[in-house]
Each structure stands twice: as C-alpha cells, then as structure tokens.
C-alpha cells in the first residue's frame, strides 16, 4: 500500500502507468476498424419528404353555404385535412427488398412523411423498381419508376421523389 521510496524506480513505474494509459488511447482511438461495405457492395438510398393525397376530395361549397360564412372566411372549396398513408415498395431484380407504410403525422393526420431508407446491394447491373401508393382513393401504386441501373462498388444510388416530376434516380 505504501509508495516506493526509491525515486528512479517510482518514476519508472509511473512511466509504465502512463504508457498503459496512452496505449489504451492509442488503440481505441482508431481500432478495431469497422467494415461498412464489402468490396463488391454498393448502397441504395431512398430519401424524400412527401405528403400523401387527401383522404377525401375537396368539395365545392354551395352559394348558401358561402353566404353563411363571414366574408373573410369564404373560399370555394372545403378540403378535409386528413391525408392518405403512403406505401413504399422497392423491388430489386424482381425481389421485394422494402415494403413500408408511412402514416401522416400530426393531430389531424395532415403532415408530410419523411422517407429515408438505405440498403446495401451488390454492385453491378440491376433492375430497380420503386413504387408508391399515396392515395386511398386510387387502387394500387400511383407512382412507379422502373430502371436498369449500374452501380459501382461503394457508390450510393439515390432515389428521390418530387410531387411534380415524380421519382428520379441519380
């Protein structure tokens, strides 16, 4: 328990302790390294924000109904706020690799959803199909993109969606 009185030996032991302390830092500051992708792997990322279609269509207000409203509150359409859930499905070489339904956030279920999906895929030639069903008023997928893609190892294939232009791949 008592310390060593021989100064050189004491300093030598201290140096040893500092060495162990620094060796811990030396090693764990960088090692063990992690493998994120294998040599022949690439990645697909689907990322976009999107609001599903309205659950119910807008309804034209009658003249009587408009008259009942204050002048500054009069608008031609009465649109319900609730939006449809959004179903996303991703097919890679005819195999379904992703299938997810996103429900609109918010108290009135009127918010837009944020999609962020990524998956490791083998690099090379693939047939990629991304489908989205964002309306309860239409049967099936109402937005689809199907492409033959070629992806190099370590590269990210990015799929985005814009309500005007639809899906795009880059």
């Amino acid at each position: 328990m008592s310390s060593i009185h021989n100064k050189p030996l004491r300093y030598l032991l201290q140096a040893f302790n500092y060495f162990v302390f620094m060796a811990l830092i030396w090693y764990f500051a960088t090692e063990p390294s992690i493998q994120i992708l294998a040599e022949d792997e690439a990645m697909i990322t689907i990322a976009f924000a999107h609001a599903g279609e309205l659950r119910e269509p807008c309804r034209k207000l009658s003249n009587e109904e408009l008259q009942k409203l204050a002048p500054n509150m009069r608008k031609l359409d009465d649109c319900p706020r609730e939006r449809s859930p959004v179903l996303i499905e991703v097919m890679l070489d005819e195999e379904r690799i992703y299938h997810q339904t996103f429900y609109p956030p918010g108290l009135f279920e009127d918010g837009s959803i944020d999609v962020y999906y990524r998956a490791k895929i083998p690099a090379g030639q693939h047939q990629l199909q991304v489908k989205m069903d964002d309306s309860v008023r239409e049967e099936g997928f109402n937005h689809v993109i199907k492409h033959d893609v070629s992806i190099d190892p370590t590269h990210i294939l990015l799929v985005e969606f814009n309500s005007v232009k639809g899906f795009s791949i880059r």
């Binding site: 328990m1 008592s2 310390s3 060593i4 004491r10 032991l13 201290q14 040893f16 302790n17 500092y18 060495f19 302390f21 620094m22 811990l24 830092i25 030396w26 764990f28 500051a29 960088t30 090692e31 390294s33 992690i34 493998q35 994120i36 992708l37 294998a38 040599e39 792997e41 690439a42 990645m43 990322t45 990322a47 976009f48 924000a49 956030p105 944020d114 962020y116 190892p153 370590t154 590269h155 990210i156 990015l158 985005e160 880059r170």
Partner: protein, 514 residues
C-alpha cells in the same frame, strides 16, 4: 470483514497506483481534477485550432489537412492533443464513476452528485461527436448520417435531418450550426452541468497536483508526436467508405446502427442511462441521523461551517438572544452524517465536564461526543496488558475492533474526522499509553476531508488544534482500507515498541530523579 469483489478490484487498483504514484499523486484520488485539467488542454488546443479552421463544407477538410500536415509541428500537435485529451477524459470520467460506485459513494445523500454526473458523460460524448463532424472526412460523414438517423427517429421531431446528407444537399449553414454547437453551445452547457454536479460539495478543487498534471501532459504530448491524429479520406456524399477507423471512446454507438434500428439503439442507450440514474437507490441507503445543533453550547465560531465537506452547514444571525453574532444551521438534505463537524467544535472537549452528560454545539445522535468519552473510559478500564493503546478508527477504513487484545482496544467512529483533538489528549491523561487514529487511505477519505482535517488538527495547522501539551510521541495517525489490515498491524507493532521504550525511558528518568 467481507469486501465485495467490485470494491476489492477498485482497492487493488488503488493500491497499485499508491505504490507507483504515492498517495499525493495517485490519479484515482484526482480523477475529477484530472478531467478538468484535460478540459483545459482541450480548450486551449481547440482555441488554437479554431484560427486556421475553415467552417464550410468545401473548406473544412482542406483546412484540417493544412493543420495536420503543413503545420504539423504546432497546429498538428494541437490537433492530436485536442483529440487524445478528449479520449483521456472519457477514461477518467468512467474511472471516476467506477470509483464512486465501487466505494459506495453514490448512494444516500450523494445521489445528487451521481445523478447529475450521468448527463455530464453524455454531454462529453455529444461534444466529441460534433468535434468529429467538423473534420468532414469519411468518418465525419458516417457520424453525421448516423447522428441524423438517430435524431430523426425521435418522435415529434421533424424527420428531415438525414436528408441534409444526401449528395448535393449539404449546406454551409448546417455546418456552421455544428461549428457553433461544438465551439460555444456544448462547452457552455457542459461547464454549467459540471457546476451543478459539484454544487453540493465544499472546498471544490479543480486542479490536480502539479506532478500528475505534468506527467499526464508529457504522456499526451508523446502520444501526439508518436501517433499524430489524422483525417480519413474526404467526405463524399455520393459514396460510402468500405472500412473506417472509429474512435471507440466516442463513436461506439454508431456501428450498432448497422445491425439495429434507430429505435432499438435509442432504447439501449436510454435503458443504460436509466439504469445508471437509479443506481443510488439499488438498494436505497439506510438513512442515518444527521448532525444536530445545540445552540446552548454553540458560540457561532464557524469551525464546523469551514470543515463541513458537503456544504450542509450555513451561518445565520443569532436567533436565541445570546451575545454571539452568529449561529449555525444544518441542512438535513445535504448532511452526510459524517460527524466531522462534531470533531471541529471547540465545545466537544471532554475536559469541560467530568460529571453528567457532555454537551457540545453540534453532535451526532448516533455517536455523541459524550458517548465517545464514555467508550474511551470503558476501553481504558477493560485493558490489563503491559500497555494501554487506543485505536480510534473510521468505519469505512480498517475494522479496528479486530485489533482488540489485552493491551489494545479499537473504537469505531463514523469518520476519523469526528474525533476532537482534546479527546486524544483526554485518553492520554486518563491512562492511555498511546493513541492511534486511523482513517481511510490518505487522500481518499470516504467523507472527503476526514483524515486530512484530522492530520492538520494534530499538526496544529487547522483549528481546533491538538494542544502542545499532548505528547506527540504517543500519538500516531494511520490510513488504510479494509485490505490494509497487515499494514496497521505492522504499524501497531512498531508503535508498541516505541511506547514501551518511552515508558522505560520515563521510568528510568523518574527513578534517577528520586
């Protein structure tokens, strides 16, 4: 006495450091101050690095490359010091937690310091994460995307953060936000949290011993020169790195995201946090009576106020109409029930009254000064050996009752700091040949200052002092843990020899006088 395996492991490590560093420089006794010292290194090196650093998506990596390679001898070394001191902080903080847990210094009245310490660890980790972000290399990209995924998984938070890190979307504005957080926001929050963490302590010291600070700095400097911190390949949001070297001290949660969902990762992190937070109540510590003030015997001298290790005593204007200016009050929520205050009270003088109960200004109901005097008298009467040695021992150190023999009696106290110096004098006057006071290992008092204050009182450096008339040759201080029974037995054997020699010398001197 059985010592639990965790405590035994800690005490063994502590013993090893005591051998090589001595009790003054033992890093385990200075983990808090050592962490502060590392913060200063991080702060100074960080300020230096801030000058050449360019906070933009396009410029960050290049400026860090300039720092690392063009100016390796100055900014490069600073970068390495900044990084390795940050890693060292995680080690010192984890050791600090282990120490407090292993030595049962996290429960009872200490719950506040423990609970406020856990968010500090997370704040340090978060500060390190944003630091890695600023380099904007592949590791930064990995950390940024992982962090954004975790943030996006929090309910009711707009889940759009991850989309900042898809090709072409990263903007300087986001980068500047992180820079602001790392350079100003997070450090300020951390320092505020550290202030809260030590708020229930008095006489807080934030500087380690100079020798330990110098040794640590030299070690970090050597590591910085031998293995300079370098960046990985520049970030490229259109690709993913195949392999990455990550700093496991800060970034250990991110590889989990490759196997677990963000939600599961949060559940694990929050569960660990919750478990750590409730540790002070697993099991709850038995409550003990706190210090009680008796104004009839308090003159408001303030010695207990100065000595209280936990800021539980405060002074206020006299309320009982006595001629003294001030009086003391004890906050029961803060009181550690160590009894150091009773030891510091000048009224705790066993010579004051020989008949009736000995009252003092501040006392411990579970072991009053009057009771200590009675036990002393009983112990002296019970010994029939060649010598009479009293060993007053702190209950958190060596179990002194195991030392009982025909010439030795152990008297267990809450803390060695609760022994009034006059009680030692009293014991010698009442027939003890020698008095030994043993506390926790030197500089590692369970109640922070018990053994230090006792030593200073005995040396005449702190009031109430051991008076000059007390024979120093017959008084000995010792420190040790439950593992150090052999040490005290050796010391006691030596003390016995010295006392016998003293008695013989005194007998000879007395005979020659006659």
């Amino acid at each position: 006495m059985l010592v639990n395996p965790v405590k035994r492991a800690y005490l063994t490590l502590e013993s090893w450091f005591n051998i090589s560093f001595g009790t003054e420089w033992n890093p385990l006794y200075h983990l808090g101050t050592l962490s502060f010292f590392l913060f200063w290194i991080i702060l100074v090196s960080g300020l230096y690095l801030f000058i050449p650093f360019h906070g933009s998506v396009a410029g960050a990596y290049q400026s860090v490359e300039y720092i690392t390679h063009e100016q390796w001898y100055a900014a490069g070394v600073m970068r390495s010091l900044h990084r390795y001191a940050s890693d060292a902080v995680v080690i010192t903080v984890l050791l600090h937690m282990f120490k407090e847990f292993a030595s049962d210094r996290h429960r009872g009245f200490r719950w506040f310091s423990w609970v406020t310490g856990i968010p500090n660890l997370w704040a340090i980790i978060a500060l390190g994460i944003t630091g890695y972000w600023l380099v904007w290399d592949e590791l930064a990209q990995y950390v940024a995307i992982g962090s954004a995924r975790l943030m996006d998984a929090i309910p009711y938070i707009s889940g759009a953060m991850t989309r900042n890190f898809i090709a072409g979307e990263m903007t300087d504005r986001f980068f500047i936000l992180i820079e602001f957080l790392h350079l100003l926001g997070q450090p300020l929050i951390l320092f505020f949290m550290l202030w809260i963490h030590v708020k229930r302590l008095s006489n807080v010291n934030i500087n380690p011993p100079r020798g330990l600070a110098v040794g640590t700095f030299i070690a970090l400097l050597a590591l910085s020169l031998l293995k300079p911190a370098v960046s990985q390949a520049p970030a490229d949001l259109s690709t993913m790195p195949q392999t990455l070297q990550i700093d496991w001290f800060y970034l250990n949660v991110y590889p989990l995201l490759d196997y677990w969902s963000e939600g599961d990762t949060w559940v694990l992190t929050l569960s660990i946090t919750f478990l750590l937070m409730i540790l002070p109540w697993i099991p709850p510590k038995k409550s003990v009576p706190v210090a009680v003030v008796d104004l009839d015997h308090c003159n408001g001298c303030g010695l207990c106020f100065d000595d209280c290790p936990f800021d539980a005593i405060s002074m206020q204007a006299r309320t009982d109409g006595k001629r003294f200016e001030r009086e003391i009050i004890v906050d029961p929520d803060l009181c550690g029930a160590c009894g150091i205050c009773a030891g510091s009270c000048p009224s705790s003088n066993p010579f004051r009254t020989s008949r009736g109960e000995l009252k003092t200004g501040i006392d411990m109901p579970q072991l009053t000064v009057d009771r200590m005097r009675s036990i002393t008298n009983e112990a002296l009467a019970a010994m029939d050996g060649e010598l009479k040695i009293l060993v007053y021992g702190c209950e958190h150190g060596i179990n002194v009752s195991r030392l009982d023999s025909s010439d030795t009696r152990g008297i267990s106290l809450i803390c060695s700091g609760m022994i009034p110096p006059t009680l030692v004098e009293y014991a010698l006057k009442k027939g003890a040949d020698g008095v030994m006071v043993t506390g926790c290992r030197q500089n590692d008092c369970y109640y922070r200052f018990g053994n230090r204050w006792t030593r200073m009182r005995f040396d005449g450096d702190r009031k109430p002092i051991l008076r000059g008339r007390a024979d120093r040759d017959r008084i000995r201080s010792h420190g040790g843990s439950e593992l150090d029974k052999n040490g005290i037995e050796r010391d006691l054997l030596d003390f016995r020899g010295k006392l016998l020699a003293l008695n013989q010398a005194e007998a000879v001197s007395s005979t020659s006088l006659h």
